[in-house]
Symmetry: C2
Subunit: 139 residues, 2 copies
DNA sequence: TTGCGTGCAAAGGTTTTGCATGGCA
DNA sequence: TGCCATGCAAAACCTTTGCACGCAA
């Protein structure tokens, strides 16, 4: 890989900074655009999209597919270099990192029994956290 | 729920039939449109979309969010009432159904050790299938 | 007869592309 | 200086909406 992130520009830096300011947040391209603008760091929307794409390819960000139909993709700071699975609460948005032996075992099983090499970077599990499960039942 | 699929029409029936003909396939709206057309059962694209939406709401189909950016949503016959996890190959799009004891065990572990109730309907694992893994290594 | 289903055309939204300019190294 | 990054406008793309008509019940 020789075509490494070649130049360092104000715009690119601004996008990176924004995500570092809110490491837990999932932002849409539009939100990135708006938030930067609010900080006085105006970046063209095209450049926002291109930066997001570049940062995802470089592994700095993670891209989450849009859920609904009129929805848009969301981006988040890649939690850490070491890969592990994450689960997100569909109700409150809480994110939990799943690094434990069982996950390795799970990955192994998928590889051996199903022939798939699990990509932890792209996979996001969805469910309900303890609190939101409780609230759901009370309804 | 009283607003059940009220009328039975040729078009709606054609869409349902198509998915029953290929219970394992994940089809895009465009593909549904094309395949029906090839069968001589032409259905307007708008109607395809509306049928897919209706069938998803009724639980007959499952909707998978688009992966890439220029991508589109995919629909599949809801395999059965019992839910199970799926893994999709990010390279070729192949889908594998993961129904086995280990998955139940995995779900249990997430519940007990991490407090999350996994939602198998919303979760999609991503990775590379055996073939695509091999191709990747050869590069 | 009632009102849902259909289909065309047009609009909606997000994301990409063409192209000239600007700016990093 | 060379080349990548930027940004505007326009296009591409999937999907939804408006509206008149058709058709199931």
């Amino acid at each position: 890989m020789s075509t490494r992130g070649s130049y360092q520009t104000r715009q690119q830096e601004a996008v990176v900074q924004l995500f570092h300011q809110r490491p837990e947040d999932c932002l849409s391209a539009e939100e990135v655009y708006q938030l930067l603008d609010a900080q006085g760091l105006t970046v063209g929307k095209t450049t926002v999209y291109r930066s997001l794409t570049r940062l995802c390819e470089g592994g700095a960000l993670r891209r989450y597919a849009p859920q609904g139909s009129g929805d848009c993709a969301r981006f988040q700071l890649n939690p850490c270099s070491e890969s592990h699975l994450h689960i997100r609460c569909v109700a409150c948005g809480a994110l939990e990192h799943l690094h434990c032996g069982e996950m390795e075992q799970f990955k192994q099983h998928i590889h051996q029994s199903h022939g798939f090499t699990l990509d932890e970077g792209q996979t996001m599990l969805y469910g309900r956290c303890k609190e939101c499960s409780r609230k759901e039942q009370t309804k």
